[in-house]
Symmetry: C2
Subunit: 148 residues, 2 copies
């Protein structure tokens, strides 16, 4: 396209902005849920459990894009917090089904509140149409990349 790729060529890129802003947003969200004893990945796991009914940990691993061993660690910590309980699947006793407890649901709503607060902080100074456009654009992009 352009012979002399100008200064801001990389910065104008979608992936550049997604990467930097994603890291920034995740850091701020991490600060907020830290007092709950959680990290962003814990929140992601809680959300995944709340979304689908009950999946195997392997499914969860691929859905979250992490190694199965990490699911084990996350589930361990969530179990210590009383947010999750492990139940052997009677149909297949190899499987440990992860169930959200009431405490887990409570924690998830706390996470959602933290996320919404972070959203407000990030989009401070935005007009409402701007905010809507951003949310909508990201949601459509997300829908194109959920492993369904």
């Amino acid at each position: 396209m352009s012979d002399v790729k100008g200064a801001a060529a990389l910065r104008a890129t979608l992936v550049y902005n997604l990467g930097t802003l994603g890291a920034l947003a995740s850091d701020r969200f991490a600060d907020r849920v830290e007092e709950l004893g959680l990290k962003p990945k814990h929140a992601g796991l809680l959300a995944a459990l709340d979304a689908g009914p009950t999946a195997s940990q392997q499914e969860l691993a691929t859905r979250l894009g992490v190694a199965p061993s990490l699911i084990v660690a996350l589930a361990d910590q969530l179990q210590e917090l009383g947010a999750v309980e492990r139940v052997r699947d009677p149909q297949d006793r190899r499987r440990q089904v992860l169930n959200l407890t009431p405490e887990g649901r409570r924690l998830l709503t706390r996470c959602t509140e933290a996320a919404e607060a972070t959203d407000a902080e990030l989009t401070a100074g935005f007009t409402e149409p701007q905010r809507a456009a951003l949310t909508h654009a990201l949601r459509t992009l997300g829908e194109h990349h959920t492993p369904n």
Copy 2:
């Protein structure tokens, strides 16, 4: 707003989508620049050097939001690739000014091409208005969070 925070409440959040999509995009970008011997942070440093004229490494650290010691490591590796040269600032001989070499500029354009390819991959199946809306929304969000 909602009494029983439904399933997709957290997933509908801005910070959730930014975080997951940012990580996804960064991973794909990392795959592409790996063969150049670079990681995303190297590309970020190259872009920062190309943008402003010549900043101190401390400035670069705060601009990229990382520790000064990390700038040293990144600069070391870029120097080994011949992409950057260190020059003592005559005005203040404590400062090591980082200069982009022609090879550095060449690498930067390669990174930009990789980023654009990743963009195309991410937005495959998008209409042109959709792509434009996404780019524009992210750019405005980014402008609100650059430390200027």
